[in-house]
């Protein structure tokens, strides 16, 4: 529950569409999100379209806590939606942002979140063009929830789809896994274990666009958010009706993440990431794609982590001890509100 009281907090009347709603927009939102499109129409923003294909995606963000190491719910809401478009082969352009705020939420926190949204939009090259704010009573939300919807053009070079995945393809990844989920968990539970773990939350559209434009054999991409790497790998295997064969010792996991997940009994392969994706690409181009990520995007730990095999939807992990472990979807061990 939001904890402040007084005049520096969100009131129910901020959400009633009347005078306080207008003042909230004018003071907190419009100056930060200012762009041409936001002001064109009253109930909707309009933008010119050229022939092609557009993509749309939406996500609600309910992360707890709303501020965590190297990120916050605002940054997350932009990155999450930008990244869903990015791994779909689209160039993100416009976002709509909708806020559900608990009565009593500090305006200073709102200001900080809105600033973070604006900064992340600028980094990702997208604009907030439409928005909405609703206020609910104390105990009817936990501080603030944000839904972002994004649209953009599909890159003409993008030819992504489960059907293109075939045996012999390589699976590459842009960096180490588990940092976001673990950093949020540690912050939430106030574990006294500050090992310097920070969220990897970041927009990925710069990388995905370069990969798609440069390597025609990029066949599929997926950001590794809810359910973590393992759940997403399993879903890809099932949908593409192939097996994924992964090599545990090649999957990058930072030492501090490994250490703490070992202590807590968590598997980093099931922790959410907010700045990591996998790409499935021909064997011929996989090495070059990794080179690009390492050299031009500072993804020093980017690497090939496995290959596609003929099969029926299994994900096999060759463990460091030489055994084989079958990965399935996350089940029965919920880490709620990680994004």
């Amino acid at each position: 529950m939001a904890s402040s009281t007084g005049n520096d907090v969100i009131l129910l009347a901020h959400g009633d569409g009347g005078l306080l709603t207008h003042r909230l927009l004018e003071k907190y939102f419009l100056p930060r999100f200012d762009n041409e499109l936001l002001h064109q129409l009253t109930d909707a923003a309009s933008f010119p379209v050229k022939p092609g294909h557009m993509a749309i995606t939406t996500d609600a963000f309910v992360v707890d806590p709303i501020f965590f190491p190297a990120g916050d719910i605002g940054k997350l809401a932009v990155c999450g939606t930008v990244n869903d478009l990015a791994v779909s082969g689209a160039k993100p352009l416009y976002l709509a942002a909708s806020f559900i705020i608990e009565e009593g939420f500090p305006l200073a926190s709102l200001e900080r979140i809105v600033a973070s949204i604006a900064k992340t939009c600028s980094e990702a090259g997208v604009a907030i063009v439409a928005g909405d704010t609703k206020v609910v009573g104390r105990g009817q939300a936990d501080k603030i929830y944000i839904t972002t919807t994004g649209i953009g053009y599909l890159l003409p070079e993008a030819r992504l789809g489960y059907r293109r995945i075939e045996p012999g393809d390589c699976i590459i990844i842009n960096g180490p896994l588990g940092n976001h989920g673990l950093s949020v968990l540690l912050e939430r539970e106030s574990f006294d274990m500050d090992a310097g773990i920070v969220s990897d939350c970041a927009p990925l559209n710069g990388m995905t666009e370069r990969l798609i434009r440069q390597f025609p054999s990029v066949k599929f991409m997926r950001d590794l958010t809810r359910g973590g790497f393992a759940t997403n790998a399993k879903e890809i295997a099932l949908q593409a009706a192939v097996d994924l064969r992964l090599d545990e010792k090649s999957i990058p996991i930072d030492d501090n993440v490994k250490g703490i997940t070992d202590i807590l009994g968590l598997d980093p392969l099931y922790l959410a990431n907010e700045g990591k994706f996998l790409a499935i690409i021909s064997k011929k181009e996989a090495g070059k794609a990794v080179d690009l990520l390492q050299n031009e995007f500072s993804c020093t730990k980017s690497c090939i982590i496995g290959t596609i095999d003929a099969g029926k939807g299994d994900v096999f992990l060759k463990t460091e001890l030489g055994g084989t472990r079958r990965l399935n979807m996350l089940t029965g061990a919920p880490l709620p509100r990680i994004c």
Copy 2:
């Protein structure tokens, strides 16, 4: 707070992106929202675009109670977003829907809401093409919140904007005011006053498209939701830098709404509507536009309610007693969670 317990309710694990999330989608959402676009991509839906202008809008719906006479939060979420596009001069096409659900929410209620969304989409001629579901713990939301984002093409004939409004124009309305807000309020507070008042929640895009296509002098439209007619009228007056002169006795308000708002001390001009809009149109075409709404859309109480005058942003209501009342934005009398 959601009240059911047991296996027939939403669990935290339904929102973790794992197995239960997939089952929820496959059992409850996909069959109802089934359309070509929903299945194309994994993280985003794509659709072809032709040259022109598109419009986008987003709204969070937090109405309490979630089921009310002649509507529910699902129907409202579709109508609200469709109508924002409609009054902006756009033809709504695609919706993205994002759900934040409280742990323990009955699956039967979710099913009912999803069915209502599907039915309303069908009535409005729009398709759900993207979605998301998050689950938060008990007491971290009040049952269910839905954010819908809509996109569509601006009608080529649409020339809407504050700047086109000029003295002498007429203000028309498609029917009686206050029914939605009052019906929700009566349902929420369990007043023992069932006067048969039902929400007016309905998609307006059929009417707005006909008006725009048929009458070149449609200069501005606005749906009369949060803040009610009065708040929206005041905002239009301010933004267009004109005065609105309204005739109280011509503003349609149903007798039962008038009776109950009198008893409760509420002003129907400040109650939210979800199926009402005003249009500002030249004097020459105003009567014909009203005829169209009355004859072809069964808006029997549609009428001209006032005119535009030179001014600086005032809304003057000529009362039935012959006096003049100045209308301002809603302030200090919040009716939270009306939409």
